[in-house]
């Protein structure tokens, strides 16, 4: 009991520390000062009266949502003797694999730089800055010559790395044993089996109503749909993050989806957020990065060719270019197994004061990266809100899909879960595919890495992403 109490106080201290630097803290402080004018706040019971005021005016709810959001995103404080790398990824051989994968990416990017003689980053001349500012809303009309650029890596390269992942302490011999992995992934991670999945995804059972199935035209709306929409409106009126997350497990009505997602991810468009987005836009205009060309190439190759998403091409540029300048994304590397690439200002190699991260957000886009943003464009039309939602989705979920880690929502676990489920449920299909030389993971890997974006119709995709938010886990992608 002593241990649990000290763990709880450690968690509370950590969350308080994080929230202190946030916008919400400043707003609460301002509200508290303003509330001193009110007649019901008395001096002798100052603390209790202000607490009561916060409860009535809805500010306590906002604080509750912020704390819930912190709890969902950040891992619990670990053992005091554990070094920070352990928090990123506890298994040593996975850390090593991620490190060597990152080195390969860096080499590839560096060789592209030297071949094309383009610097990684440069300051734009003033004329070019003006031109870009004018064209900001229609960057899609630009047709730069991108034929020499190639994506840094594609999902199939990443799959090859995962296939070769081995635990040095594991019996990897040729003899068949009760635990031989028949699929491609050879790492013995713990994945949920069918009974555990049934328990975890209990709201997706056959006896519970679901949007996407029970709201089709043959089913009368009185059975499920009307009630569900009514509950949704109530949840939004209450502005409660935890309730929204529970509600969305059964799917979200299209009209309410944008607000529900913003509530769950704890995004509210404050003037400061719009200002932050404008600041990022200024950064894009001032500096030109090689990563920008990679983003251009990726959007032209993937989203522009897609029937559903080509209309959003301009939005994609606006979001992705700003995303790569956003240093707040660096915070997620504390709990991700990946590390941001480093570089030095020209001429100052080795001097620590001139060491910077490249790109500023530490994330190098790969082939298909822009598809993470594309479905969100259906929900949000205002660039700064769209940007915030995408950033939050990335630092909560999408980063796990392209880094090597042992986390249950990491891509390695998802692949293993997929293969195990297929072997259990459809063993004949699995055996047949294996016999003809087409391992099923090779087919489904690209679906999972992109979270099915581009492979499912948009309405179905958004229902799937509803469940990702509701369960705070990517395991549904493998299911």
């Amino acid at each position: 009991m002593l241990q649990e109490e000290s763990d709880l106080s450690l968690i509370i201290a950590q969350i308080v520390q994080k929230l202190k630097g946030s916008n919400l803290y400043a707003q609460l402080e301002r509200q508290a000062w303003a509330s001193l004018q009110r007649p019901e706040i008395k001096l002798e019971s100052l603390k209790e009266d202000i607490k009561e005021f916060f409860k009535i005016s809805g500010w306590e709810k906002k604080l509750q949502n912020a704390v819930y959001s912190e709890l969902s995103v950040f891992p619990l404080p670990s053992h005091p003797a554990a070094p920070p790398e352990h928090l990123k990824e506890p298994l040593v051989y996975m850390r090593k694999a991620q490190g060597s994968w990152e080195k390969r990416i860096l080499k590839s990017l560096n060789s592209m730089c030297t071949e094309l003689s383009i610097p990684l980053a440069r300051k734009r001349p003033v004329g070019e800055q003006k031109e870009l500012l004018n064209k900001w809303n229609e960057m899609g009309t630009d047709e730069p010559d991108l034929s020499l650029f190639r994506p840094v890596y594609a999902p199939k390269d990443f799959l090859e790395v995962l296939i070769n992942l081995r635990n040095p302490n594991y019996e990897n011999g040729d003899s068949l044993s009760f635990r031989t992995h028949l699929g491609l992934i050879q790492v013995p991670l713990k994945v949920k089996d069918i009974p555990e999945l049934k328990e975890f995804f209990v709201e997706l059972g056959l006896t519970t109503g679901q949007l996407g199935i029970d709201d089709s035209t043959q089913v009368p709306p009185e059975l499920f749909e009307n009630e569900h929409v009514r509950i949704g409106q109530k949840v939004l009126a209450e502005q409660d993050s935890a309730a929204a997350q529970q509600y969305i497990r059964q799917g979200s009505p299209t009209a309410l989806r944008a607000e529900l997602w913003a509530l769950i991810l704890n995004i509210s468009s404050q003037p400061e957020d719009i200002l932050y987005y404008e600041q990022l836009k200024t950064n894009v205009i001032q500096h030109d990065l090689l990563v920008d060309s990679l983003i251009y190439k990726d959007v032209k190759l993937t989203a522009s060719n897609d029937d559903y998403y080509f209309v959003f091409e301009d939005y994609l540029y606006q979001v992705l270019l700003c995303f790569s300048r956003d240093t707040s994304v660096l915070g997620h590397f504390a709990y991700s197994s990946a590390s941001p690439p480093k570089s030095y200002i020209r001429g100052k190699l080795g001097l620590e004061e001139y060491a910077v991260f490249y790109p500023p957000n530490g994330v190098i886009p790969f082939h298909g990266f822009s598809m993470y943003v594309a479905p969100l464009c259906f929900l949000y039309h205002e660039p700064s809100k769209l940007y915030q939602i995408f950033r939050e989705m990335y630092v909560r979920f999408f980063f796990r899909l392209h880094s090597i880690s042992s986390h249950p929502s990491g891509i390695v676990s998802l692949c293993l879960l997929f293969e195990t489920l297929l072997q259990t449920y459809l063993p004949q299909l699995f055996y047949h595919l294996r016999e003809i030389g087409a391992q099923p993971l090779r087919i489904s890997f690209k679906w999972m890495v992109r979270a099915f974006s581009g492979y499912l119709a948009t309405d179905q995709l958004l229902l799937l992403w509803d469940r990702i938010l509701g369960y705070n886990s990517l395991e549904i992608l493998a299911g």
Binding site: L46, A81, P119, N169, Y170, S177, K190, E353, F357, S406
Partner: protein
């Protein structure tokens, strides 16, 4: 509670196996590690910390110092503590673990020697052990302060003089002022840790190549 590390000597692991180690097919599933404390007198154990490496179950036996001249016996103080919920998979395989005095089955005063018995029933792993073993004892208690008598037993005050009309009661005022002072102290002590969003160095972000280190 403070704790002080106790220097210990960890002897090499001994595998327990039936039959000859060289000729038998399987790998040992039980390892024993002895921990002695050559330079320290019998002490009270507070905490044991280590990093697991694929050990599934841990049993600890302790030999304590007895005041009479009977030979010290081995007593089990932790039985089959589970480190890996599923011995065949990686969960918990490389975690950092702390074991405290209150989790032990017996009293841990006057410890002479420890014996850690590691078990890994799964045949899938090539080796298993525990690393970075640290033993801690109770740290020195904070020195107790003796208050002067007049501070701990204040003299009861005499009847206060009758209040002037219209002024608030002094004890209420003093309690309010105390509360406000406490709030201001809290505000002064806290400081926000805000992030600066700049990614360039003095406006310059000219980069050539990425660095590999």
């Amino acid at each position: 509670m403070s704790r002080v590390s106790v220097p210990c000597h960890v002897k090499g692991t001994v595998a327990l196996q039936v039959g000859d180690v060289r000729t038998s097919q399987g790998r040992p599933g039980v390892l024993v590690i002895d921990v002695t404390f050559p330079s320290v007198a019998p002490f009270e154990l507070q905490e044991i910390t280590f990093k697991n490496y694929y050990t599934a179950f841990l049993t600890i036996r302790v030999r304590q110092h007895t005041s009479t001249h009977t030979p010290a016996k081995w007593v089990t103080c932790l039985r089959d503590y589970c480190l890996m919920p599923d011995p065949h998979s990686e969960e918990g395989a490389q975690e950092y673990v702390s074991l405290f005095k209150h989790q032990m089955l017996c009293d841990m005063a006057r410890v002479l020697e420890l014996r850690l018995i590691l078990r890994q029933p799964s045949p899938l792993w090539l080796s298993f052990t525990v690393e970075e073993l640290q033993i801690y004892q109770q740290g020195p208690k904070s020195p107790s302060m003796t208050f002067p008598k007049w501070l701990s037993h204040p003299v009861p005050c005499e009847q206060s003089a009758p209040l002037l009309e219209g002024l608030p009661e002094p004890s209420r005022v003093s309690s309010e002022v105390q509360q406000m002072w406490a709030l201001t102290e809290m505000i002064r002590a806290s400081h926000a840790s805000t992030r600066i969003g700049r990614f360039d160095v003095d406006g310059c972000y000219d980069l050539n190549l990425l660095s590999y280190t």
